[in-house]
Amino acid sequence: MPGITREEVAHLARLARLELKDEELDHFAGQLDDIIGAVARVSDVADEDVPPTSHPLPLTNVMRPDEVRPSLTPEQALSGAPAQEQQRFKVPQILGEE
């Protein structure tokens, strides 16, 4: 298994939307390398003919009746919003400037 580099940590942080500081990159690189080294032993079973288990319960497509029932009011739904306007979540710009 490959070791994990500072550059890889920076890439993972970008994918995970974490604006890590330089000193965090160094610190996490060593720790993640240790952890990945320790958990890599699961790949001993990679070639075994064993079905994967993703969940302890064998449930699929759990349905409930399609009924109208009480839900949050707009005020409640927006009550934790960092910013709001006209009964909507107000967010920073999501498209580039012209």
Binding site: M1, I4, E8, V9, L12, A13, L15, A16, R17, L18, E19, L20, K21, E24, H27, F28, Q31, L32, D34, I35, I36, A38, V39, A40, R41, V42, S43, D44, V45, A46, E48, V50, P51, P52, T53, S54, H55, P56, L57, L59, V62, R64, L72, Q76, A77, S79, G80, A81, P82, A83, F89, V91, P92, Q93, I94, G96
Partner: protein, 500 residues
């Protein structure tokens, strides 16, 4: 030393009986616990938020019901400490994280609602490792909690606030959540009782998600019967949680009232021993096995060869699910928003907010999960971990073909000093060695006190593991062990804890 006059020393069952019979009012009980919190929690730091007014209002409701002659439920008026991972309408829910520091949820979790429906008096919200990631409560953004047995040591984690509240008599009942041991390991190191019910037994609706295929809420208490009473109050099918088990709750209270192990086949897992296990922990565990034999159980040695890969599989599966679950903290709809100065894009604000709002362990696990799920590594890591999960399930199935329950130490060591493993993630992860297999397989498990380790005088936990949907076996065995130990010691273990 007896404290029968002190309302904070009673069990939940005794408290409910006193209130129902009018020997104490619910308000008196609530006030006694609020006074205890006031007196000791500055030292312990079990609570992140105390809801004095809400608790007294609920207690007054219970007293009013009684005076009207209404029938009270089995836990009516009993105070409870709620882990700060369950949403509470109008009361802060931080999950031990800065990212939810000022969030007031607009709705109650199903568990919160059930507690209120049962007339349980919620005293407040307890400290925890951030997003339930940790085994020491040191990962809380709001500072660590002390173990009432020795305030310089950890109370376990992630539910260290709940276990410490019980062990310091700030509440007779508490709620925890167990993803890899976060109910059982804190119970073990504080000399209290904690149960991880069968996966799906307690609704996850309104429980902030960490690893959805592993997370399970459950009861924490000072006695087996109290845990059973709480188990019965919170368990049951919930249409709002699609992974909730649609089946009757096993008869846990009846089992707790009828402790018995005669003729029971008890398996000792060979793999839960050896390097890393403290001598005093193994000594108390071996004595417990002997006790079970004396009480009439048949002891069988069991091998579960895949358990040695459980920790590795867990630290791939849990971070993978966490990296996905925690993507919802994007600074747009609720929680912290940082760096929004009008010049930055939404994506930049999201990244700055997550950097500012998450602590180191949460960041580590998000990145580990992102790595395990990324293309090129997925099959080797996440895919293999899921295969290990199948093998662990098969080990349990084979074991439960031979025995009724399994036993092990709950955790390899007693409570370690605060700070000792704080920046050594792999050392911290070893605390969950014996608890993790049950999360991966989804079966039920309990920890209860089995004595103090001779070398440090700190509590040791005995873990009992039962098949899925056989949670009542935990209580039947646990009650028998508890009664035998109380008879041997002459009192509950917690009476040996130093007074604060």
């Amino acid at each position: 030393m007896t404290h029968s006059s002190d309302l904070t020393r009673l069990t939940a069952a005794e408290t409910a009986a006193r209130i129902a019979s009018g020997r104490a009012s619910a308000v008196e009980v609530a006030e006694a616990h609020l006074a205890r919190i006031e007196a000791v929690d500055e030292k312990v730091h079990a609570f992140l938020h105390v809801d004095r007014e809400g608790a007294l209002a609920r207690a007054r409701t219970v007293d009013a019901k009684r005076s009207r002659g209404e029938r009270l439920g089995p836990l009516a008026g009993v105070p409870l400490a709620l882990k700060d991972i369950f949403t509470t309408e109008g009361m802060p829910t931080t999950v031990g994280s800065k990212i939810l520091e000022s969030w007031i949820p607009p709705y109650d979790a199903t568990l919160t609602k059930r507690l209120k429906d049962a007339d349980v008096v919620i005293l407040g919200k307890t400290n925890m490792d951030e997003f339930a990631m940790g085994s020491s409560t040191e990962n809380s953004a709001y500072g660590p909690t002390g173990n009432p047995w020795d305030l310089t040591r950890i109370p376990g984690g992630s539910g260290g606030g709940s276990s410490a509240a019980l062990a310091s008599y700030q509440a007779p009942l508490a709620i925890g959540t167990d993803t890899g041991g976060s109910i059982r390991q804190p119970a073990a190191v504080t000399g209290t009782v904690g149960v991880k019910p069968t996966y799906g037994a307690v609704s996850r609706y309104g429980m902030v998600a960490f690893s959805s295929s592993l997370d399970q809420g459950g009861p924490c208490a000072r006695t087996v019967l109290d845990a059973a009473l709480l188990h019965e109050a919170i368990a049951g099918h919930d249409p709002l949680d699609s992974t909730s088990v649609d089946a009757p709750v096993p008869p846990v209270v009846e089992a707790a009232r009828n402790g018995d192990v005669k003729g029971l086949r008890v398996g000792v897992v060979r793999e839960f021993a050896g390097e890393g296990y403290q001598a005093g922990v193994m000594q108390r565990f071996n004595e417990s096995v002997e006790l079970l034999r004396e009480l009439g159980a048949e002891i069988v040695e069991i091998s579960c060869p895949s358990f040695d890969k459980a920790l590795a599989a867990y630290y791939l599966i849990a971070p993978s699910e966490c990296s996905s679950n925690l993507a919802r903290f994007d600074a747009m709809r609720y929680g912290l928003r940082a760096g929004d100065d009008g010049t930055r894009s939404a994506e930049e604000v999201t990244s700055l907010t997550r950097e500012a709002g998450f602590g180191p362990e949460v960041k580590r696990r998000i990145m580990l999960g992102t790595y395990a799920l990324s293309s090129g590594y997925y099959d080797a890591y996440y895919g293999s971990a899921q295969k290990v999960r199948t093998l662990i399930k098969r080990d349990f199935d084979a074991a439960f073909g031979k025995v009724d329950v399994l036993v092990s130490p709950t955790t390899p060591t007693t409570a370690f000093p605060i700070g000792e493993r704080a920046d050594d993630p792999m050392a911290m992860y070893l605390a969950d060695l014996c608890t993790i297999p049950s999360n991966l397989a989804g079966n039920a498990a309990m920890s209860l006190p089995c004595g103090l380790a001779p070398e440090d005088g700190l509590p040791v936990g005995l873990q009992i593991i039962a098949p899925a949907m056989a949670d009542d076996r935990l209580y039947r065995v646990g009650a028998a062990v508890e009664a035998a130990y109380h008879a041997r010691w002459g009192h509950p273990l917690l009476e040996e804890a130093p007074s604060l």
